[in-house]
Symmetry: C2
Subunit: 97 residues, 2 copies
């Protein structure tokens, strides 16, 4: 025979379980939203880089920006050999002055 107190205790347990599940779901949804937001931010960052790079390279192409200056900047900036190769820069670059 189930007493009213036992019923109430059972009900509390069920609600605690539901609350736990709801919290877990909330966390999952929040994590997914955050991941989507970060992905969008990275996409915007990349797009900004592409647009600025395209503008500079167009200026270099038109002779409005010195190519040497661009290459010197990239020489300073780039460390990965495959990236450096895209600008015909030598792969070796261990220690600078």
């Amino acid at each position: 025979m189930i007493t009213n107190i036992e019923k109430a205790q059972q009900r509390v347990k069920e609600l605690e379980e539901k609350l736990k599940q709801a919290k877990a779901l909330k966390q999952k949804v929040e994590a997914r939203a955050k991941a989507a937001e970060n992905k969008q931010k990275r996409a915007y960052d990349t797009r900004r880089k592409i647009l600025v790079g395209a503008a500079i390279l167009a200026k270099v192409e038109r002779g409005e920006w010195p190519k040497d200056k661009m290459l010197e900047m990239m020489n300073q900036q780039l460390t990965r050999a495959d990236d450096r190769l895209l600008f015909d820069l030598p792969a070796v670059k261990e220690t600078g002055s």
Copy 2:
């Protein structure tokens, strides 16, 4: 009854067909190679833009390049509203001076 001449004519026809097929295949393979080459070139172009853009934006971030100069350049360069929005530039830009 098939004469030798008819046999020879048949053989020529078959070879012509084979040649046609081989030519078509060659064209298809060449087109595929060209498409792959163009895709690779576009990927390199995009990578170059990203690297140059990243270098410039890093300089702006570090205060080594005036942000105003970068924004003015982008203001001149960009026409698409969604691109301009990435730099907080107003969408309206119909005719310049």
